[in-house]
């Protein structure tokens, strides 16, 4: 099959970030929806986290080129969102949160139409529609009217229309919203498959931390229009983990010894009936310090176990810090 894209219009190479945001700001009247967002996101399964009103939807709409920012700029899959909005949308898919499907038409017809709306010729669009409906598990139902579909099947149609034109990146806005636990689990599996096997970068906008933990390997956290964190999810323990230390010996002296080395230590709750210390681990060297101090003080190190911070800890911690900082400034 021939390719009509010329070299200049080809959007994306693996080396390029999927999203590159430079000082994006958008306000609606006095409400600041996005405040100086600076962000570079690799081709990954990205969780876009934030409470309602955090700016997630505004960020997505800006990245799709549907909203013009007040200042700053962004490029998505290599195209500038301000000047090349239609090009961005040609190579990006979007699955909105709201129920948004025509009911009195078949899934194949609608998904094929959406492929054409992304620039595919009619014949290729029909073929792609059949293929992606097969990929999302609606092969048998594709000639049925959408009005007879369950919530889960409709979500699948929405996912199919988002990937039918073989985008480089898709934005999924609350993809598991309104689904029962079983349907939600299946949708998450599908999303993971879209990223891992179909090779399409994914941005999942959600306020459900568990969804992000399940399918994403990169997280972006927004709060009140500000960027709170943007980093790989697998490396979240870099932000901070904890070591639970149980020693036989003078625990207070051990705590003072660690604190004198600049390590943050606090007594643990008496979960097991032992007195334990919770040591913050920001660096691998902390483990060496614990070992050396135990030798130096002649204390027996009975146990040392690590406890990574969950995404919820990270979210609450970073958002809390950000709000505190803003509060101080005000």
């Amino acid at each position: 099959m021939h390719v009509t894209q010329d070299a200049d219009s080809m959007p994306h190479t693996d080396a390029q970030p999927a999203i590159d945001v430079r000082g994006l700001r958008k306000s609606f009247g006095s409400f600041v929806a996005l405040d100086d967002i600076r962000l570079t996101v690799p081709r990954a399964a990205v969780g876009l986290l934030g409470a309602n009103g955090a700016g997630k939807t505004t960020l997505i709409r800006t990245l799709l080129g549907l909203i013009s920012p007040d200042s700053g700029s962004a490029s998505v899959v290599g195209f500038d969102t301000r000047t090349e909005g239609t090009k961005v949308r040609e190579f990006v898919g979007y699955m909105p949160e709201a129920e948004g499907l025509p009911t009195n038409t078949t899934a194949a017809d609608f998904v094929g139409h959406m492929a054409e709306m992304s620039g595919l010729p009619p014949r290729a669009a029909r073929q792609r529609a059949a293929d992606v409906l097969y990929q999302v598990g609606l092969a048998e139902e594709r000639y049925r009217l959408i009005k007879g579909f369950s919530t889960g099947m409709r979500q699948r149609v929405k996912l199919a229309q988002a990937i039918v034109h073989d985008p480089k990146l898709i934005f999924l806005d609350e993809p598991t919203s309104g689904m029962d636990p079983e349907g939600r689990e299946e949708m998450l599996e599908l999303i993971e498959r879209v990223y891992r096997q179909l090779g399409i970068a994914v941005v999942v906008s959600t306020h459900i931390l568990e969804d992000v933990e399940k399918v994403c390997n990169y997280v972006v956290i927004l709060d009140q229009g500000r960027l709170v964190a943007a980093q790989p999810l697998g490396g979240l323990d870099v932000i901070g983990g904890e070591a639970i230390v149980h020693i036989d010996g003078d625990q207070s002296a051990f705590q003072r010894g660690l604190e004198s080395q600049g390590v943050t230590v606090r007594p643990a709750d008496l979960e097991m009936g032992f007195e334990e210390l919770v040591v913050e681990v920001n660096d691998e060297a902390v483990y060496d310090l614990i070992r050396d101090l135990a030798v130096e003080q002649g204390a027996s190190l009975r146990s040392l176990r690590t406890r990574s911070r969950s995404l919820e800890d990270i979210y609450l911690g970073t958002v809390g810090e950000m709000r505190e900082e803003v509060g101080h400034r005000v």
Binding site: L120, E189, Q197
Partner: protein
């Protein structure tokens, strides 16, 4: 297309639930042509027409458009057939024909055209459209074009058949066609103006509601009320400005334009109003342009979700 073969065997997962099965027959990336905005606009145009006519929808959606096409074409074809068989029978004159067809075109615009715009709002598919390779302007352009072309199929096409019928039933069809070629262009012009005007008015009203029934009711009732009020207003009122009221009764507006195009006697109310013919043309152009701009405004980011 390039096939990026997947390592997963091509079998469904055992025990997967009714939604959850993912069959893997390999995912083919698309590396064929991408035709961008042009294809997107064409697709939206074609899809809107198909949806409005009930194509690829349930059979009930096809009934009304089919009935209207039947009432526009069949009596005309029967009339031409009779005229070709009976030398004494006359085929309708163009102005008479357009007066007759105007009601059918009006009902068509009121009932079929809202289907072009309203479902996208009611079913909340606008975010999906605006996330594709089009701008909001492209969306409105495609919808306006679809409404106009669709209305032309019932205002211009039968009129062209009428023109053909009149020539075929003439004593010398070939020479009649040559001599009356000017009528063909006048027929197309009048039919196109009717299509543009009624199509735009129907879209304006459709752009203001999420309910097709409301759009239909407003358009139909609006036409009926205006048509029934204008005539007594013009004849009974004493003020000089009353004659301009004729401009809101589009039946009379197109009667004036049609009779001027074909040099025939206009309706008595048109004669009473006695407006210059350019004013009717200017008014029709204003309605088309203002209506299009209004729909464009309705779909600007502040007004459409």
């Amino acid at each position: 297309m390039s096939d990026t073969a997947s390592p997963i065997p091509a079998t469904p997962n055992e025990g997967a639930s009714r939604y959850g099965e993912v069959f893997d027959r390999g995912y083919a990336h698309y590396d064929g042509p991408r035709e961008g905005r042009r294809r997107a606009i064409l697709s939206l145009f074609g899809y809107s027409i198909k949806r409005a006519l009930g194509i690829r929808k349930s059979w009930t959606a096809k009934i009304l458009p089919a009935l209207l096409y039947f009432s526009a074409f069949v009596p005309l074809i029967v009339m031409i057939g009779i005229a070709s068989l009976l030398p004494d029978a006359n085929v309708a004159s163009y102005p008479d024909y357009f007066v007759g067809i105007f009601t059918i075109v009006g009902i068509f615009a009121a009932t079929v055209i809202p289907e072009i715009l309203v479902p996208d709002r009611r079913e909340k598919t606008l975010p999906l459209y605006f996330a594709r390779a089009i701008t909001r302007f492209d969306y409105v352009l495609a919808k306006l074009a679809a409404a106009t072309v669709l209305t032309m199929t019932i205002s211009v096409l039968p009129a062209i058949i009428l023109w053909l019928g009149r020539q075929i039933t003439a004593e010398s069809p070939a020479s009649a066609m040559r001599e009356n070629l000017g009528d063909l262009w006048r027929v197309i012009l009048l039919g196109t103006l009717i299509a543009l005007t009624l199509g735009t008015i129907a879209l304006v009203i459709s752009s203001m509601t999420d309910r097709k029934g409301v759009a239909i009711a407003v358009i139909v009732i609006g036409f009926i009320i205006i048509s029934s009020l204008v005539e007594p207003a013009i004849t009974e009122l004493n003020q000089d400005w009353r004659r301009y009221l004729i401009l809101i009764a589009f039946t009379l507006v197109f009667d004036a334009i049609g009779t001027s195009l074909f040099d025939s006697q206009p309706d008595a109310i048109v004669q009473l109003a006695d407006l210059p013919i350019w004013m009717y043309y200017a008014w029709v152009c204003f309605v088309i342009v203002a209506g299009s701009l209004f729909v464009r405004w309705r779909y600007s980011p502040r007004n459409a979700s």
